[in-house]
Symmetry: C2
DNA sequence: GTTTACAAAATTGAATAAGATTTAATTTAT
DNA sequence: ATAAATTAAATCTTATTCAATTTTGTAAAC
């Protein structure tokens, strides 16, 4: 595989492989229960076992795989229950994001959020969903940065990544992009005024709405999957 | 070093080394900015470079060290600001712990918490502070388990570990053990009744008090340190 | 005295080999 | 057919090697 021929951005092979496998798990290429064999992955990626092992050890810490000593690693992945859990935890933290961000955000960060907002508006008019996905993720990542808390940022970035697929499908549902845009607008406005309470409310409101939407989508997709399954056996 | 002569509990060398170095960082044996050289650590621990490398990669993901490609890893550690951050985040999540625990706790888990509580009471009468530290950590770990949420559990266990030192010193302050015991009692009582609101309140109250205490201790210790520093230069 | 240049040393990154250990699968013996 | 023994497969760990990169030490140049 030529993915790793020229190393990018001064990153180690290990971290590239880590991100690749993580992506493959979160995108569903590897399903829960799949066994990840070091030498297979190494051959597949065209590297030696060493960086693969290191990446797998990191994935273990990330909770995406189980590493049973002397037996190897199996994929854990993200279940529907996991998504529910993450959404609830996220909801109970995002108020703090609003508070800290309103207190600590810098002028250039406000500008950055405004730019992302404008771009989202632009691409929503063009109907470019992929760009919107990307910008939506970036909006929240940038927001997390403004809190100046590496722990808050770390936890929420992880969560965001874990539920990425569900989040993206949810944005496709009727009218969600428009409402999300309006919610983003309110968040930015509150932050611009450094209004702690307004920022808290705007963020909690946004995440609560997002959660409802994501849960609906996950539910729908599960039912669709079930219908397909019964169709198969009929 | 004979720490790793006979491997414990079916754990890999890598994870033992990971825990050892993490412990050394959190206990202050390695200070922020210290460089961790693979071969030195390997010699020190009497193992080869490979498991040390894997452990360091895990520590990087844990946020306790920075890994700069081709330059090595340096210790990040936990600053006073980090502790403040973690306390605030913890406070905003623990309500959820109360809720989920009250909804999902099993009978045998209630018994387990009661036993830990009884033991803490016993050792507090004996004045065995180390045992109390241990039991206090165990109480909260057990509590996190009862939520049946691997993410909530994971995040909070990490946080608890990161602020372990501060938490322990805080328990030493006058009367804190007694008040903490009373708060634990209220938590268990609420959980036993599966009373969601009461559990939320009891937990938020406990964590809020704990936070105040920890902040005071951290503040005091910092001032003491500063006083010593100026004493040196006088 | 400070800076610059360059070679040497040290460290990490990655690959590979090899033996030990553990687990899983297969065969053999009863 | 079950139990025991053997074989096979995969991981764990050590060890060695080479390349790439950074750091250090030294000397020349300003």
């Amino acid at each position: 595989m030529d993915l790793f021929d020229q190393k990018k951005e001064n990153k180690s092979l290990t971290s590239l492989i880590f991100e690749k496998i993580r992506e493959d798990i979160l995108n569903g290429r590897y399903a829960t229960g799949d066994k990840l064999v070091e030498i297979k992955l190494a051959d597949e990626l065209g590297v030696s076992r060493t960086p693969v092992r290191e990446a797998l050890k990191q994935l273990e810490l990330d909770g995406l795989v189980d590493n049973i000593p002397n037996r190897g690693v199996v994929v854990k992945g993200i279940s529907k229950k996991d998504i529910d859990d993450i959404l609830a935890i996220r909801l109970s933290i995002e108020g703090l994001v609003g508070q800290w961000s309103a207190e600590r955000i810098l002028d250039h960060e406000i500008k950055e959020l405004e730019e992302i907002y404008d771009l989202m508006e632009f691409y929503s008019q063009k109907g470019d969903v992929d760009k919107i996905f990307e910008l939506n993720t970036k909006f929240h990542e940038t927001l997390y940065q403004t809190t100046k808390s590496r722990y808050l940022e770390g936890v929420l970035n992880d969560f965001q990544l874990f539920i990425k697929t569900a989040r993206n499908s949810s944005l496709k549902s009727e009218g969600r992009i428009q409402s999300a845009l309006e919610e983003h607008r309110q968040i930015v406005a509150a932050l611009k005024n450094h209004d702690v309470e307004a920022a808290r409310n705007a963020l909690v409101n946004h995440i609560a709405n997002s959660n409802i939407n994501i849960k609906n989508i996950v539910q729908l997709e599960e039912e669709k999957l079930k219908a397909e399954m019964t169709e198969m056996t009929d």
